[in-house]
């Protein structure tokens, strides 16, 4: 067995001798990266600050969304519990009966479910995940000083902020926020008389999401341009870390699909505000017939899912990139099948546009269409499977450092396996007849998207925290966070498969009316209890995160994990511009671990005379 040298590369020497001089200093005191308090911490154009803004805003939303889920889980697990103690927080959302017993009103039950879904999908797992890490890592990992347009980048965050403010405001409306489900299907979402949340709440919901899309588009445009144009010398596409590849493809998917969602939303707004009939026809509601004829609610579903399915990959691809990077680094071993990983990211990105109607098998669309969507949906499982096998093989014969980020990366793969496989049931239309809109779907997407994406995000936060804040998070708390979360998440979502196979529909306020659906009290109680356990774990995480920003152990080495990617060649607390002097020049792919007897070889290290950069 060859002995491995624990090398420490003298980064500064490499940069000085090999680096690429873009005459950064000469601009430094000019306009470009001027710094005052406001422009440093608030209206910052530094991609690293913007990343942190995304992260912290996303975390705030995650807690709001998670808090709502606890309340509606209480309703499902313990419907008879007295909730009057929640009045100080939730006010009129809690009904108090004549005996003083408080319960959650159905209007607000649905409001919470809806806001939970909306903010987790869009604000947390899109903005909080892709927004954070694309911003933080793209320039640092490709050796760029910032995004192509730092100003648009800042604008992107502030549009997200505006979207957040509007959504937050809607929570305080007398009639409550929108309550018709995160997919907002009309006519329920189009007609104020259909439910309380479909009035002003829905207007704010739509405005908020339109601003959100603007934010995504501005961000995505920037990520794409930056990756294409600002790669440092030697950083060819085949030398990009998988993180950057995944952010790049994610941004392209977003750019192509989000505008379709906006189109769908605009038509919905027109139906709501101007009385057009894009989605409405033959409706009799609240005692009178409406004038609308000729519209089709199915049209909305097509427009929504044309984004909606790519959106799930917009969420998961960045997590996949992060996990690939974290796994390779902590297993001290090249990622297995780098090119296959890249090709599957591209394949998934491409195929994700051809499967949307698998959400609509029983929507009333022509059953003939389903043939194609079954085909493409099951095809997309192939690149997904390839990725899973590659991760597993990356662990094979590795030298695995079971650090907190590595644990979360392993957890990610487990959840992606468990949840991805149930997609094969749902993608096959005959089975979906039975499973659609049951708890089986809830189990599927929470495991594959919700939990897996969170695990990817946690892996990323624990891994890059030292780079972001120059300090470490508490490891023991991190491990407790991991164990509580993995156990709680499986205990919450696994049993939902059984509910689904038993036929229990999702989005039910209560199961009492049905003989067949009301047999699962114990199961529902277990789920609710573990939801609280999981939430507790996140409180520990939040404490660890914020405490460590200010008081965590200081990072003393520039490259604590001995990683190969370029961000670790920048100073521990990089200023705006990332590298104070020359930019690193790239000579190799990012996964040269344990190569030719050296523990790791960063990308800026030139090849040995007899060495070739093949992978």
């Amino acid at each position: 067995m060859a002995k491995v040298q624990a090398l420490d590369y003298d980064v500064d020497k490499y940069l000085e001798e090999q680096g690429y001089d873009d005459h950064f200093h000469e601009h430094e005191h000019g306009d470009k990266y001027k710094v005052s308090f406001i422009s440093k911490y608030i209206f910052s154009t530094d991609h690293k600050t913007i990343a942190k803004q995304y992260l912290i805003t996303g975390m705030a939303w995650a807690f709001i969304g998670a808090f709502f889920s606890l309340i509606f889980r209480l309703q499902l697990g313990f419907p008879d519990m007295d909730l009057s103690w929640l009045r100080p927080i939730l006010g009129g959302w809690i009904n108090i009966n004549s005996e003083g017993v408080g319960s959650l009103s159905p209007d607000f039950y649905y409001a919470m479910v809806t806001i939970h879904g909306t903010v987790l999908v869009f604000f947390v797992l899109t903005a909080g995940l892709s927004g954070t890490f694309s911003n933080f890592l793209i320039p640092l990992q490709i050796g760029a000083r910032d995004m192509a347009s730092p100003f648009l980048n800042m604008l992107s965050y502030w549009f997200f902020f505006l979207a957040s403010v509007i959504m937050l405001l809607s929570l305080f409306l007398e009639s409550g926020p929108f309550a018709g489900g995160w997919v907002a299907y009309p006519p329920l979402s189009a007609l104020p008389q259909a439910m309380m949340g479909s009035g002003m709440g829905m207007n704010l919901w739509l405005f908020s999401l339109v601003f959100f899309v603007v934010s995504v588009l501005l961000g995505g445009l920037n990520y794409i341009t930056t990756v294409i144009n600002l790669r440092t010398k030697g950083m060819s596409f085949w030398r990009l870390p998988l993180t950057v590849w995944s952010f790049f493809v994610t941004a392209i998917i977003g750019l192509l699909s989000f505008p379709v969602l906006v189109a769908g939303f605009v038509l919905l707004l027109l139906d709501r505000l101007l009385g057009t009939s894009f989605y409405l026809s033959d409706i009799f509601i609240a005692g009178e017939p409406l004038h609308h004829v000729g519209g089709s609610p199915i049209l909305y579903q097509h427009l929504f899912w044309f984004l909606g399915h790519p959106e799930v990959y917009i969420i998961i691809l960045p997590a996949m990139g992060i996990v690939s990077e974290v796994m390779s680094t902590h297993a001290r071993r090249p990622i297995f099948g780098y090119k296959a990983m890249v090709y599957s990211i591209i394949a998934i990105g491409f195929l994700s546009f051809l499967v949307w109607a698998h959400h609509m098998f029983v929507s009333g669309m022509d059953p003939f269409l389903a043939n194609f969507f079954i085909l493409f949906t099951l095809i997309i499982a192939v690149p997904s499977a390839v990725k899973v096998f590659n991760w597993i093989t990356t662990l094979y014969k590795g030298n695995i450092h079971l650090t907190v980020p590595m644990l979360f990366a392993i957890g990610f793969v487990s959840f992606f396996i468990s949840g991805g496989l149930t997609g094969l049931f749902l993608g096959n239309a005959p089975i979906d007849i039975q499973m659609h809109d049951t708890y089986f779907v809830v189990a599927h997407f929470h495991i594959v998207m919700g939990v897996a994406a969170f695990f990817g995000m946690f892996a990323g936060i624990y891994h890059w925290f030292p780079k972001m804040f120059g300090r470490y998070m508490n490891q023991t708390l991190g491990k407790i966070h991991f164990w509580l979360t993995i156990v709680a998440a499986y205990m919450v979502f696994w049993p939902m498969h059984y509910l689904g196979v038993a036929g229990v529909p999702r989005r039910y306020y209560t199961f009492d009316s049905f003989v067949n659906f009301s047999q699962f009290d114990t199961l529902n109680q277990i789920i609710t209890i573990f939801a609280f356990v999981g939430f507790t774990a996140q409180l520990l995480f939040a404490f660890n995160f914020f405490y460590s920003i200010f008081y965590g152990k200081k990072v003393s080495e520039r490259n604590p994990y001995r990683a190969n990617t370029l961000e670790w060649s920048a100073p521990t607390n990089p200023g705006h511009g990332n590298w104070p002097g020359k930019l690193p020049v790239v000579h190799r792919w990012p996964y040269d671990f344990h190569k030719n007897g050296s523990d790791y070889r960063p990308q800026y290290v030139p090849l040995d005379p007899d060495e070739r950069d093949v992978h």
Partner: protein
């Protein structure tokens, strides 16, 4: 108070966890230069992962077994429709392949994480690419997908096929609204009548049925979805306000109800409710009392019913859109079906909502005609003179007037026909009233009404000398004038046959 104590205990618990973590991290930091310590740390996590994987598998299989009696398609639950087993078998094939991958991939993941954890001196493999391996795990899943796709597509097209022209099937209209299902059967003609949302009137015409469409005239509503075993059913699915979805879990049927766009679902029930209950009764799970708090309550299998649920979020009452579904033997179904009363005839006919309120429908004409002819012939052949009289049951006048109601002409036309068929008989037309108003007025009114009948018959070509009119006023009541129904019976025209 308890809430306060619980909160304090919770915060305390968090505090303790945090405190311990900090102490532990200081400990870790002190030994950061000891490589054996790190190895030990990783070992602990690795063992944790292994234990987790073991528990995960145990719980997965244990809980699946534990709940199997509730899972549709497993335990006592067999699909109750003809296409159901096809879906279940596709489910099982998918479960087989995915189960295999799940176990192997999860086991490999956790095992490798354990086995290849960092220990001193371990050198990681350089193995980063293998065309052969990567081909294998691209091609094998692709082959499995091919099997699933082909089977899936074949089943799908079979299951979603519409009924064909020459097939026998029962059509039922299911219309969702906030928050209930309307269930409409086609009546004896086997056809559902047309409808239009603009005709909807709550409480009167819930579905907006177009009453000028005769197919509507025998349609009826039911509170439960009653289905005959073994016959093909076509559900015609509509929504009045927002999206709903017809979900019949035991039959593996689901289809959205879309305003403005009718959809359908075709299936054939294969098990009656009773048969299904008997299957359930064999398992312990369903022998438990239905109400867990009351050991005396009926066992679960006995209170079991097939159910129709809504599976598309439709507002705050979404979870209350339930209908019982009852599958019965076809004979029982036919009997039930023939006993149902048409909604139109019972609730709409001759009301202001009836477009035909001034007209008789062909079947009503023939019914009345045969009723009239029977009575007429009986009277004609009666021995006693007192029995040679018949009442015109459908000749009516406006209150206080001698103007014939429009519908009176049908029965008068029968009279014309009868007189023409029997040229040698003559009639005495007798008017009667109730006792409301003064006697003289009643007398005059009854005569005037008899005269109106006389005029009508003459206008139809009956010779005046064959007819004679009398007004009896209120002098010959045939029922008590104390009630409205009695008074109504007393206001009448009678014909006496004179040979």
């Amino acid at each position: 108070m308890t809430a306060l104590v619980a909160t304090i205990a919770y915060v305390l618990l968090l505090g303790i966890i945090i405190l311990i973590s900090f102490i532990n991290d200081v400990h870790i930091d002190m030994r950061r230069d000891d490589p054996d310590f790190r190895v030990k740390q990783y070992r602990r996590s690795a063992v944790g992962l292994l234990v987790f994987a073991a528990l995960f598998f145990a719980l997965t299989f244990g809980s699946a077994y534990w709940y199997k009696d509730f899972m549709l398609g497993y335990g006592p639950h067999k699909a109750a429709s003809e296409h159901g087993p096809e879906i279940d078998s596709l489910f099982n094939i998918t479960l087989f392949f995915t189960g295999l991958v799940f176990v192997l991939a999860t086991a490999a993941l956790f095992w490798f994480a354990f086995k290849y954890r960092h220990v001193r001196g371990r050198v990681a493999s350089q193995f980063a690419h293998s065309t052969k391996l990567e081909m294998i795990w691209t091609v094998v899943p692709a082959l499995v997908m091919t099997i699933l796709v082909v089977k899936g597509i074949v089943s799908w097209n079979k299951i979603t096929a519409d009924v064909s022209e020459d097939e026998e099937y029962l059509e039922i209209d299911i219309t969702g609204q906030q928050f209930l299902w309307n269930i409409r059967y086609p009546g004896k003609d086997g056809k559902l009548g047309a409808k239009d949302f603009r005709l909807i009137e709550p409480g009167i015409n819930e579905l907006g049925q177009d009453w000028t469409d005769e197919r509507n005239h025998d349609d009826f509503f039911a509170e439960e979805l009653i289905l005959p075993k073994g016959r093909k059913i076509k559900l015609r699915i509509y929504a009045k306000d927002v999206l709903h979805s017809v979900f019949l879990p035991h039959f593996r049927v689901k289809m959205d109800a879309v305003p403005g766009m009718p959809t359908y679902a075709v299936f054939t029930p294969t098990m009656t409710t009773e048969e299904y209950r008997r299957r359930l009764a064999k398992t312990k799970t369903y022998q438990r009392p239905a109400d867990p708090d009351d050991p005396e309550s009926d066992p679960l299998w006995k209170v079991f019913d097939f159910e129709l649920a809504c599976a598309e979020l439709c507002g705050i009452g979404h979870s209350s859109m339930r209908r019982v579904v009852k599958v019965v033997e076809p004979e029982e179904f036919d009997k039930w079906f023939s006993q149902q009363k048409s909604y139109y005839m019972e609730n709409i006919r001759f009301t202001e909502h009836d477009p035909y309120k001034d007209k008789l429908l062909p079947q009503e004409i023939s019914q009345r005609k045969s009723d009239f002819e029977t009575r007429f012939n009986r009277a004609l052949s009666a021995e006693e003179e007192a029995k040679r009289s018949i009442e015109l049951r459908h000749v009516e006048f406006k209150t206080g007037s001698a103007e014939l109601s429009p519908l009176s002409r049908y029965e008068l036309d029968f009279v014309v026909e009868a007189l023409k068929a029997h040229p040698n008989i003559r009639l005495e037309i007798a008017g009667h009233t109730d006792n409301v108003g003064n006697e003289e007025m009643n007398q005059k009114l009854s005569l005037a009404r008899a005269k109106a009948v006389y005029d009508y018959l003459v206008s139809k070509g009956i010779a005046p000398d064959r007819l004679k009119t009398v007004g009896y006023g209120a002098t010959q009541p045939k029922a008590s004038n104390a009630s409205e129904s009695g008074r109504s019976a007393n206001r009448r025209i009678e014909l006496k046959i004179i040979k």
